[in-house]
């Protein structure tokens, strides 16, 4: 497999307020009145995965769990269903966070797809045990769209950390 050829850019430290803002924004996106929910990507899960991979010391299992609880309350789902799925998602992202950043963005998207699929399977198992019905294969499409959004989310959320390209002529090195 071809390794990423572009030079790695040195990033500025992430702003905790920006992290909080992006997570709350993703939560607000999920709360929008959607006509068919199965096709809409779960932006909160995606943003959470992003921060768990890029800033594992700032965002982890605990924050994911709390946001999952908020999703449960907002959707009238079983309390703890999204919380468990998001906590497992955050843990999975933490396990692969060192390795996955060596790949380019599209292989990263494949990893993210597998993570989101696993969290969705956990949610499915919980609901089937609690006596729900199978929601259909359309949910897979939603996960696929989420994974396709990964490169754009990466660009968007890393933008504040990228230093401007001002070349200082007077600097010796």
């Amino acid at each position: 497999m071809k390794r990423q050829q572009q030079p790695q850019r040195i990033l500025r430290p992430a702003n905790p307020f920006f992290i909080a803002f992006s997570l709350l924004g993703a939560l607000a996106f999920n709360l929008l009145p959607w006509p068919d929910l199965r096709l809409v990507p779960d932006l909160l899960a995606l943003t959470l995965t992003f921060w768990c991979i890029h800033q594992p010391r700032k965002v982890g299992v605990g924050i994911a769990w709390v946001l999952g609880l908020a999703m449960d309350a907002a959707n009238g789902a079983l309390i703890g269903q999204h919380a468990l799925a998001y906590a497992c998602l955050a843990f999975g992202a933490h396990v692969i966070h060192r390795r996955v950043l060596l790949f380019g963005v599209w292989p990263q998207a494949v990893h993210v797809f597998v993570l989101l699929l696993l969290s969705q399977l956990i949610m499915l198992a919980v609901r089937l045990i609690a006596g729900g019905t199978f929601p259909g294969w359309l949910t897979l499409v939603g996960i696929g769209i989420s994974a396709l959004l990964w490169p754009f989310i990466t660009d968007l959320l890393l933008a504040p950390q990228r230093a401007p390209d001002d070349i200082d002529e007077t600097r010796p090195i």
């Binding site: 709350l24 607000a28 999920n30 929008l32 959607w34 079983l78 309390i79 703890g80 906590a87 019905t133």
Partner: protein
């Protein structure tokens, strides 16, 4: 025992330990919520906490709707006006018939010394958003216990029964749609007064009429209305239309599929019906036989009404 190098940076508990802790906590919460309904206070607190965020999220959508209403073209308004006029003519005629029938009904009821039906109060509500949970069919409306919404009240739109209030929060309420697997509505075939119970099928757009004998007189195209026997739904509200009847000799029940009359996926404005009918409880009925007789008479009435 695995050797661990000393830590340079304080990181708190290991991620696996955290996952175990939070996983167990969520399993505990799920069991409490599903089996014992102890998690309701937590749910109320969480819903109140994210209420401002919800308002912020839905504000652009509402603003867009308002703006597009404002700029709706004159041609569309004229067309809509003409359609409404035509519809009004049709309904005015049937309204006159209905009024005379209502008066006659009232007279007959007084003759029978039956209690007259109480006209129900309604509360206008708007759907804020649909629940994101793909396993159930629920919508959230913007009226809650502050506006007089109570648990179990039926919700209708302009075409029929939409669902039932299943959870009441201070400023919002959750409505389970008739297409949800866990909701059932007592119905009656309008053509012949046959009673049955319609269940949601869980796939989002159909319902089923279960436990009808294989030789039951149900045909494709039959209208189903609420029977009002449960005391929850007002009597005679359209629920669904029969779209498919399958009679299999090996099965003891017919397989009947229905299409809900209400637009379960498209509407934004709904009415919550504050309908209360005092149905005697089973234990009281056993104690007081005259109540039983009254209920039997009512059942006979509602059976006779469809014919």
């Amino acid at each position: 025992m695995e050797y661990q190098p000393p830590q340079f940076f304080k990181r708190g508990p290991a991620p696996l330990a955290r996952l175990t802790f939070f996983g167990l906590l969520s399993v505990l919460l799920m069991v409490l919520d599903a089996r014992f309904q102890y998690a309701e206070p937590l749910r109320h607190a969480l819903t109140l906490a994210i209420y401002p965020l919800q308002q912020v999220a839905t504000a652009p959508v509402i603003a867009f709707n308002k703006v597009s209403d404002f700029f709706s073209s004159q041609a569309r308004l004229q067309r809509e006006n003409a359609e409404l006029r035509a519809q009004q003519l049709l309904t005015a005629q049937s309204l006159q018939v209905l009024e005379s029938l209502e008066q006659e009904n009232e007279r007959l009821r007084r003759l029978l010394d039956a209690r007259s039906t109480i006209p129900s109060q309604t509360v206008f509500a708007e759907i804020v958003y649909a629940g994101r949970d793909p396993f159930s069919r629920k919508v959230i409306i913007d009226r809650g216990s502050q506006h007089g919404i109570e648990l179990g009240q039926p919700v209708v739109d302009d075409q029929g029964v939409l669902g039932q209030v299943t959870r009441v929060l201070p400023l919002l309420a959750e409505v389970t749609l008739v297409t949800d697997k866990n909701l059932s509505v007592p119905v009656q075939v309008l053509r012949n007064g046959l009673r049955g119970i319609a269940y949601g099928s869980g796939d989002g757009h159909t319902m089923e009429l279960r436990y009808m004998p294989a030789n039951a007189d149900v045909q494709v195209g039959d209208q189903l209305v609420t029977s009002g026997l449960d005391g929850v739904y007002p009597r005679g509200v359209p629920v669904a239309t029969v779209t498919h009847v399958e009679r299999d000799a090996t099965m003891s029940f017919a397989k009947i599929r229905l299409r809900p009359a209400a637009g379960t996926n498209q509407h934004r404005q709904v009415l919550v019906v504050q309908h209360r009918e005092d149905i005697p409880r089973l234990a009281e009925t056993e104690a007081q036989p005259e109540d039983d007789r009254a209920r039997g008479a009512k059942r006979a009435r509602s059976r006779g009404r469809g014919r």
